[in-house]
């Protein structure tokens, strides 16, 4: 069933964003929902257009009444093919409601009306300069996210029915306010499952996905998802920093959103968020931005640390436009809303406070107490001076001993004294018992012990002499050691005799 070109009743010719003329016609019987329709010619030289448009018309006819009404409210969709002399020359779509028209003041032609395509949303300064009827400020994130959500909702309608939109771009979306609403303009690039391969490889400027740059000629749901991410970035990042791909979004989008954009604009088609993922994200953001923010978790890793150590805070929060972290020592850190963690130096123990705020209120949350420990220090211990080593060795003060037992601190009685059987020359002591024979005195002296002591010391001294450096010192030490042992043995003898 198709309509003859000659039968169309043309009311006027319009200029459309793409530049070629479109005619407003009286709606043929049974076509569309209103009195007027739009007729457009097929672009000459593009093969596959007719087949594609026929598929789209069939797709719409197959929908349930409810779904068809939804489609008609969200899209400008092909309704009928128009033929002339048996060949298809164009197709009919519905008409755009007048609230999707922008009225502006041109420099030389006075007031003009154009379809309010998405480039008007992305250039509020231009819109203001030409006195457009609708201007959305760059900071009006809630409205902009609502437009994004509506676009995602429309694209999801198609994707969930295996239809690829194809040529997603700013000139294919018109928008309005009161209520915030969008209509997507279907084209020859929109394709349902069967006719996918005949879709022309057309991309709006700046919308070509990496795989298409690399040579993929088919447009599929993956390429649609990439273009959605580019479009949302352009809507939300208006008048932002252009130094890197996502720089314009920092400060406007929270961390969860940044992750969605990173995946959406990446080269891996499978990782890109679906239209439904975007819709859910924007919906939850709008909900949370229109109520006070919520904070789910706020804590530090590690939970305790050394003073002046760096610790990292993480949090789960939603719906905030400002985020502030207060430390127990009074510092206030303003956080970038796109961050998900923050490092700082722990100066003092206490609780940290996270404050999230938006236009509708403020929410606070205190962390657990974070303890700041001081690192252990070593105190120096006084070690008493030992004096001579010989004192330490025996526990006896041999100076005192030598004063009592031997005249002065002389060791000369050692020389030649050992091969003499006679006992050492002892000072006269009172009450010293007289032994009957010298042999008894000798038995009191442990010759074995004495000689072995000397042997040990001389052996040690010998080793040390051969060992080198410390020999001299140790020899004195050893000699002193020997003397004191001899003196103690001798005193034992004396004491034994005196008993």
């Amino acid at each position: 069933m198709s309509i003859e070109l000659a039968d169309l009743s043309i009311l006027r010719t319009l200029e459309v964003p793409e530049g070629f003329p479109v005619s407003e016609i009286k709606a043929p019987k049974g076509v569309g929902r209103g009195f007027r329709c739009l007729y457009r010619d097929f672009v000459p030289g593009r093969s596959g257009s007719e087949e594609n448009i026929r598929e789209l018309i069939k797709f719409r006819r197959r929908l349930s009444d409810k779904d068809r009404r939804t489609l008609d409210s969200m899209f400008l969709w092909p309704l009928e093919i128009v033929e002339s002399h048996g060949a298809a020359v164009g197709y009919i779509t519905g008409i755009l409601p007048s609230r999707f028209e922008e009225s502006l003041h041109t420099p030389h032609s006075g007031q003009a009306k154009v379809a309010r395509t998405l480039d008007w949303l992305n250039r509020p300064a231009h819109a203001r300069a030409v006195e457009a009827s609708l201007v959305v400020e760059p900071e009006d994130t809630v409205s902009r996210m609502t437009y994004c959500a509506q676009i995602a909702r429309a694209v999801h309608f198609l994707h969930s029915r295996d239809v690829v939109f194809g040529d997603i771009g700013p000139l294919r979306v018109v928008w309005s306010s009161d209520p915030i609403d969008v209509v997507l303009l279907a084209s020859e690039c929109t394709s349902s499952g069967t006719s996918r391969s005949s879709v022309p490889d057309i991309h709006a400027p700046g919308m070509r996905p990496p795989e298409s740059v690399r040579g993929q000629s088919v447009q599929d749901i993956g390429t649609d998802r990439y273009k959605l991410a580019v479009m949302f970035r352009d809507i939300l990042g208006v008048d932002g920093d252009r130094s890197s791909v996502l720089a314009a979004l920092s400060g406007r989008i929270d961390h969860d959103g940044i992750v969605l954009f990173e995946n959406g604009l990446g080269g891996t088609s499978e990782l890109r968020p679906s239209a439904l993922d975007w819709y859910e994200y924007f919906y939850s953001q709008i909900m949370s931005l229109t109520t006070p923010p919520s904070i789910g978790m706020f804590g530090a890793v590690p939970g305790h640390g050394l003073r002046n150590q760096y610790i990292e805070f993480t949090w789960h929060a939603a719906g905030y436009r400002e985020l502030v972290l207060e430390t127990p020592w009074g510092e206030v850190h303003r956080l970038d809303i796109s961050e998900s963690k923050h490092r700082l130096m722990l100066k003092q123990s206490g609780q940290f406070r996270l404050t999230a705020s938006n236009r509708h209120g403020t929410t606070e949350r205190l962390s657990d107490v974070v303890y700041a420990f001081d690192p252990p220090t070593v105190r120096f211990v006084e070690v008493p001076e030992l004096g001579g080593v010989e004192k330490a060795m025996t526990g006896l003060d041999s100076t005192i001993l030598s004063d009592r037992v031997v005249e002065g601190a002389e060791f000369s009685w050692l020389d030649g004294g050992f091969d003499a059987v006679a006992s050492p020359q002892l000072p006269p002591l009172p009450d010293l018992p007289q032994f009957a024979s010298a042999g008894v005195a000798l038995e009191q002296v442990d010759w074995q012990g004495l000689t072995s002591v000397i042997d040990d010391v001389m052996r040690a001294a010998d080793t040390e002499v051969r060992g080198g450096v410390r020999a001299g010192r140790d020899l004195r030490t050893s000699a002193a050691m020997l003397v004191s042992r001899v003196q103690s043995l001798a005193s034992r003898v004396v004491n034994a005799r005196s008993r």
Partner: protein, 192 residues
């Protein structure tokens, strides 16, 4: 991960219009330019996206007046990168005598595809000489003795829309195209 993201840059088309004045007080070329620049102003006002896709400048050549500059009027301080040669289109409008005299001062790009629009009474006479005096590259010279800027403006409008609407075509293809020939409405022209 953000570091690995790249978005394809938008390649703009540059349309460079030069008006050859030739020393007359009210040269015919100027009458053709004025309606064109008025239309440009309106078109850039109507289509906010145009400033990202197109750069148009209409000047009188070296030291001459600037009649229209889309970057100055609508660019709002954006940064512009260099444009590849295939995306530049030159248009020159004026009488045969004015163009021949002022060829150097017009400073027309020597490689870009060129459309020369001859106006005034001697348009047809100077058609061949002007065409062959241009540096060799894709070019079309049209002789329009009608003294009405209408067709010129219409042709330029079509070129602007075609340049923006079909990124795959180079400007050379636009100049050579049969569609453009068909739009000449009986005027004499040379294409090479």
């Amino acid at each position: 991960m953000t570091a690995g993201l790249e978005i394809e840059p938008i390649f703009r088309v540059r349309i460079d219009i030069r008006v050859a004045l030739g020393g007359l007080i009210s040269p015919p070329g100027l009458e053709y330019i004025v309606p064109l620049t008025k239309w440009m102003n309106d078109e850039f006002a109507r289509r906010p996206i145009l400033v990202d896709l197109l750069e148009v400048a209409a000047t009188g050549g070296r030291g001459g007046a600037v009649y229209f500059d889309s970057r100055a009027d609508y660019g709002h301080g954006q940064m512009y990168d260099g444009i590849p040669a295939t995306r530049v289109l030159s248009i020159v409008v004026g009488t045969g005598a004015a163009i021949t005299q002022n060829l150097e001062s017009l400073e027309v790009d020597s490689q870009a595809p060129l459309l020369v629009w001859l106006v005034g009474e001697d348009a047809l006479d100077s058609l061949f000489s002007v065409h062959h005096s241009q540096v060799s590259r894709t070019r079309r010279t049209v002789a329009d003795p009608s003294l009405s800027p209408e067709l010129f403006v219409e042709i330029c409008r079509g070129l602007v829309r075609a340049a923006v609407g079909s990124p795959a075509e180079t400007c050379a293809e636009l100049i050579e195209s049969t569609a453009l020939s068909a739009a000449m409405r009986g005027l004499g022209y040379v294409v090479s």
